[in-house]
Amino acid sequence: MSDAALDRPAGPAGRSDGLSDGVIDIRDLSLTFQTADGPVYALSHVDLAVRKGEFISFIGPSGCGKTTLLRVIADLEQASSGQISVNGLTPEEARLNRQYGYVFQAPALYPWRTIEKNVMLPLEVFGMTAAERTARARKYLALVNLAGFEQKFPWQLSGGMQQRASIARALSFDPQLLLMDEPFGALDEIVRDKLNEQLLRLWAETRKTVIFVTHSIPEAVFLSTRIVVMSPRPGRIIDIIDCDLGDNRSLDIRETPRFLAIAQRVREGLRAGHSYDD
């Protein structure tokens, strides 16, 4: 509730039980949805530790629980069992302290607000001054190459531009943790490449911790420091792959043997987790 949280969005790093740079710690986490047609085992015995500054991708077939896991971290969904901490806090405390920015699968811009006003939305909620809001909106819209579109309404922008605006909105209050759910899923290959480069540059500059959901193997390998491969029914982690391609990656890196080897390993992980009877 307090605005003081803005000054230290990452929260007290020292409190994360020993792991001084641990941002997310998930232990034996399961989540079952009770539906009319019986229980849906969305997540089963998930263990994951994410360190500060990592870029983690979740990859897996549709329905394997990627979104659900992200939503548990964001306190938009409650785990049925197991432990989870975010910046050493419970997800709820982390959410109440506004410690993460969430980019949804769709841009989710408010259609009655201009692009600039959309980016200002969290800043308004946090009670920032008008001058500060304007300055930040300008800054982050420029960062995602949307300078000049401040006064446009969402429908006047292409899908890719809308998604960039939603990323600017998530960045606007400078959270140290970014949760991104297939932000580029609906975009064409060229636009996606471009946004991938922009995102990577941004990450390299700011060293935020990013958790990124994707369906695309090249995207995951290109962006991540580690790739989490998941499989469905019940949703679980079947492999975690280090992706040590260095910090200065360009799109050309996708032709290198190292890149292809990692991509191959991800593909094998996905294949192993995929049962053909469904």
């Binding site: 949804f104 989710a108 259609p111 009655w112 201009t114 909620v125 946090f126």
Partner: protein, 304 residues
């Protein structure tokens, strides 16, 4: 978005003018044709022979069963533009009660007051229903039941009850209007306030936005297109409420009073002209709300 869809539907195509004119002409022709059979038994027609003559007489009877359209328009003209609008009294200049505009104003003021009260009530009820399970369970049945009771039964009760505590004239009529028009506003606003999708709501949740912030920054703007759709219905039935409210007391002023006195004295032309004026008033009110809607939605960035 529905906001965009509704505003896009508004501009009329040029090609619709001709069909509208054709239909109007057909209705007029049928109307004139019906005047003779409808007025056939009146003494004015008893001794007239020849079809053409009989028709001509049927369109010019003083108290016909069915007046011809031009008789209504003439009466409307005479009782508005053809009559002095203002009258000087000891208290100063007031609207002339012989002018239909006087009666329209009496009804309109009750309509607008009732519309304002009813819309406000509808919005407040919707906000309560959306934010509280208890209210939604306890209030919603009453909202629905209130509309199953015929207004013609409620109106005299309200007028008499309020009259006994000294409230007469504008306020009781406005209350009947409000009683009618809060319903579509409440129903439309419940739908509108619940219209934000999960993602838009989750976004506010990730910001730890308060209930008030979620309301003002998300639910309310999302509900605005729904509000205007409801207001268009509300304003017309608010007028109906005000007219109905004038009937039970035998009021001296208002379009309802004109309808009533017209029917007492068999002044069918007066009834029809009051009716036509009421219809014009309703159209004007709907146009005003539509205009407000367009300006608002334009400011809210809906697609042109």
């Amino acid at each position: 978005m529905s906001a965009a869809a509704s505003s896009r539907a508004v501009p009329r195509k040029a090609g619709s003018t001709v069909p509208v004119l054709v239909i109007t002409a057909m209705i007029m022709a049928a109307w004139y044709a019906a005047c003779l059979p409808m007025n056939n038994d009146l003494p004015q027609l008893a001794r007239v022979t020849g079809l053409a003559e009989r028709y001509q007489v049927s369109w010019a009877i003083e108290r016909p069963v069915l007046p011809a359209p031009h008789q209504i328009v003439t009466e409307l003209y005479n009782s508005t533009i053809g009559t002095r609008l203002f009258r000087e009294t000891a208290d100063g200049v007031v609207l002339n009660p012989r002018n239909l505009v006087f009666h329209a104003w009496v009804t309109l003021s009750a309509t607008l007051l009732g519309f304002a009260m009813g819309s406000l009530l509808g919005i407040v009820i919707a906000i309560g229903i959306v934010h509280s399970r208890t209210l939604s369970k306890s209030l919603m049945p009453w909202v629905i039941i209130s509309q199953t009771i015929p207004i013609l039964a409620i109106a005299p009760i309200v007028i008499v009850a309020l009259g006994s505590i000294g409230l007469t004239g504008l306020v009781p009529k406005a209350i009947i209007s409000a009683y009618l028009c809060f319903f579509p506003v409440a129903i439309g606003m419940v739908k509108g306030l619940l219209s934000p999708d999960t993602m838009q709501l989750d976004l506010m949740r990730t910001y730890n936005g308060s209930v008030a912030q979620t309301f003002w920054k998300l639910r309310w703007p999302a509900a605005v297109p729904f509000l205007f759709a409801s207001l268009k219905v509300a304003i017309t039935i608010s007028l109906v409420g005000a007219i109905v409210g004038e009937l039970p007391t035998g009021a001296q002023a208002g379009l309802g009073a004109r309808l009533l006195s017209g029917s007492y004295f068999g002044q069918t032309i007066q009834i029809w002209s009051a009716l036509l004026f009421a219809a014009l008033l309703a159209a004007l009110l709907v146009v005003a709300v539509t205009l407000a809607e367009r300006l608002t939605l334009k400011a809210m960035g809906s697609r042109p």
